[in-house]
């Protein structure tokens, strides 16, 4: 077995353990919250007898550990259980929410990578000059603005004042692609901070790489500047950027609650928010499993890629 393959296998095993831990923690925390699904379902004027009846019907009166074991047994067969509040399978919730989230993620990443790399390389190339100072100060400033603040600002300016774009995705359901206008502002908000961190990482790595003897050597031997920058220097600068990119995609795929809520996009973040509000434990747990898997797989992918980009570093679990 090659070193890389056993590294991947070990990391996947570790990942399973991590996901189990996350699920246990999420279950314990949801149990610890005051109230449960029965209280949430009973409405505004809860009648204790009615709550008790709902509780019995939902089997919420059984001990917590029994419910957890049942759920875990179902998980082994690929069954994530059913929602407490609606009775629909949890899988439906996940599939419905995943569509919009995946769309937002894909759009964001497609714009993020070229923008981040291009601006980073540009800033490094003109280190200390106007282009670099402009890029560096703007990225720092934008990075300091939290998503919700930027979102509100963009909605106020472009949707409410100028009226160029719809403020939210209300009324479009999950079919967002048919109305590209509603995606512009959310994608901009999602892009803002990741672009900044990526630009800064690439810039730092590129400044090191451009000052290195191997870049001087390639230029000395008449290789064109752009070729040297993108093919000789950039791979070296990419290793840290790849890790950052994995964290960003992870963040995006796990549904950025603030952005989805602000723009009323029915993605995973919205599903999570609703499920927590209704104490819909199976849905929350289903989401925890999905988020856990996404995180483990993405980070593993990033480590493998980083190993390729920094072959000297070797692999360590």
């Amino acid at each position: 077995m090659s070193g890389l393959r056993s590294f991947v296998a070990r990391r996947l095993l570790l990942g399973v353990a991590q996901i189990v831990a996350v699920v246990l923690l999420v279950f314990a925390l949801t149990e610890a919250l005051p109230g449960d699904a029965a209280v949430a379902l009973a409405g505004d004027q809860p009648d204790p007898a009615r709550i008790e009846a709902i509780r019995t019907a939902m089997e919420l009166d059984r001990p917590a550990w029994e419910r957890l074991v049942d759920w875990a047994a179902g998980l082994l067969h690929g069954d994530l259980g059913t929602s407490l509040t609606s009775g629909r399978p949890v899988t439906w919730y996940l599939v419905d929410g995943f569509g919009p989230t995946l769309l937002l993620t894909a759009l964001t990443v497609v714009l993020l990578v070229p923008a981040g790399l291009g601006l980073g390389v540009l800033a490094a190339r003109y280190e200390g000059r106007l282009a670099d100072r402009l890029i560096s100060s703007v990225t720092l400033a934008v990075y300091a603005v939290p998503e919700f603040a930027l979102g509100v600002l963009l909605v106020t300016v472009f949707a409410l004042r100028l009226g160029w774009l719809p403020p939210t995705a209300v009324g479009h359901g999950a079919d967002l692609l048919a109305h590209p206008g509603v995606l512009v502002l959310p994608v901009l908000v999602l892009l803002a901070r990741p672009v900044c961190s990526l630009v800064r990482l690439v810039r730092a790595g590129m400044i090191d790489a451009l000052a290195s003897p191997y870049v001087a050597h390639a230029l000395r031997y008449g290789v064109s500047g752009a070729r040297v920058r993108y093919l000789h220097a950039l791979p070296h600068a990419l290793a840290p950027a790849v890790q950052q990119l994995a964290r960003t995609i992870d963040w995006l795929l796990c549904g950025v609650v603030v952005v989805e809520t602000l723009f009323v996009i029915p993605g995973l973040g919205t599903v999570l928010l609703g499920a927590v509000g209704e104490r819909d434990v199976p849905v929350v747990q289903g989401l925890a499993v999905v988020f856990g898997v996404v995180t483990v797989v993405l980070n593993l992918g990033a480590d493998v890629l980083a190993h390729r980009l920094a072959p000297r570093a070797g692999v360590a679990a």
Binding site: G3, F7, A310, V315
Partner: protein
Amino acid sequence: MSVNRESATGVAPVAEVRDLRVEIDGRAVVDGVSFRVLPGRVTALVGGSGSGKTTTGLALLGEYPRGARVGGEVRVATGGPVGYVPQHPASVLAPARRVDALLTDIAWMQVRHLPRGKRRAAARALVVRALEDAQLADAESMVRRYPHQLSGGQQQRVVLAQALLLGSRVVVADEPTTGQDGLTKRRVVGQLAALTTRGIAVVLLSHDLDVVRALADEVVVLREGRVVESGPAERLWEAPRHPWTRELLASEGGPTSFDVGVTRSRRPVVRVRGLVARHRAGSRSGPVVLRVPALDLHAGECLAVVGRSGSGKTTLARCLAGLHRDHDGDVLLDDTGLPRSLRQRNRAQLASVQYVFQDAHAAFDEHRPVVRQVARTAVRLRGADAEAARREALSVLARLGLPEDLVRRRPGGLSGGELQRAALARALLARPRVLLCDEITSGLDTVTRRDILGTLTELVAERGDLALVLITHDLATAALAHRVAVLDAGEVVEQGPARKVLADPRHPFTRSLVGTAEPAAST
């Protein structure tokens, strides 16, 4: 090897430097240097560090230090850029790309005239041919590797192949043999000589007089940016006119031996038993890289570990220091076994084995004053308080010839030799029982090397309880030790008293090593 030594008359120079002056911040680092580079000849620029030879060499490439004011004239014949082989060939190979990255780029520039479909194959053929011309064995598979997967010698050939592929008429080789063992040196000499047979002019920048002797047709001796003497090599060796040249030639002899009136105990400080070290590749245990059935280090004694690069010398030291965990067998300090990993060693065990690395610059944090980093050892490993540690650091540094105003600076303000002393002082502050010195003099010029070895000799004599391990490829250095262990491909092929082993080697490998350590001029 055959090096042209015909008369230079009538041959047009391929490069000429006339009255070159390079000033940085008003200080001249090169001042009035002139020489001519003839095709098929080796022109050596000789001098210690700070003599201006690297600045002059880079001027041939059209490169100058940032902010330098340049006067004079550098002319290079047309036809291909000037080739460059740096001291560390790995530094010019992009670490995240396969070794053929730059070669392929160069080749693509030469196949532009071909139809699109044929370019890839043609470029590939050019790359492979250039590598074969540079005598890299198994070129086809080598190009799929990353730079760190090649040995230093293979990296050097790849870099040479780049110059050959470019069609350079002049190749500048910067300290190509520094830090190399005798056999490697001879191979480098052979390679550079092979360049000259192709009519390529070689400009050799070196302080390694063995290699200069073996190769140079013309020698230019530099000191503090000025040419002190230049002329045909034979004339210069036979009758050096300038006193500095004479001093340079004289400094080749080593310092006094370690073996001067020191009472050596027969009690071993460290005993190595049944050591088998492997290289890890991922999680699997890789090939065995070192086998040491038994080795003792005695107090007050200097053991030289010699061998070619890649023979396992450094791995041995790393096993002792707890830096190489992947080994079987025991390393016993006095009578207790040392844990394999330094993370499991306690403070006293950590203090008792100290390591001084080859690259002193890399071994210091560039942002903190040297004295603070040196003093930290006593705080960390002996629990001394900060003020006492500082005083002790200053006194040890002063003892090693580094005054207080110097060590208050950051590492950038010290020369390589000075930093290496500081690194020694830092190790000594732990009051070690065993001091591992890994090629600590190999990057230094002959004069500095002699000083450092002199310091080490005194140290061992002064501190009777210290066992010194001197890892070196340089047999002249090894000859100073009490005992020598010879490593070849991870096996201890011979060990015993230095004089006996080096004067009367029994193992064929030791014999070959001793044979090549003689100045290569005899070839």
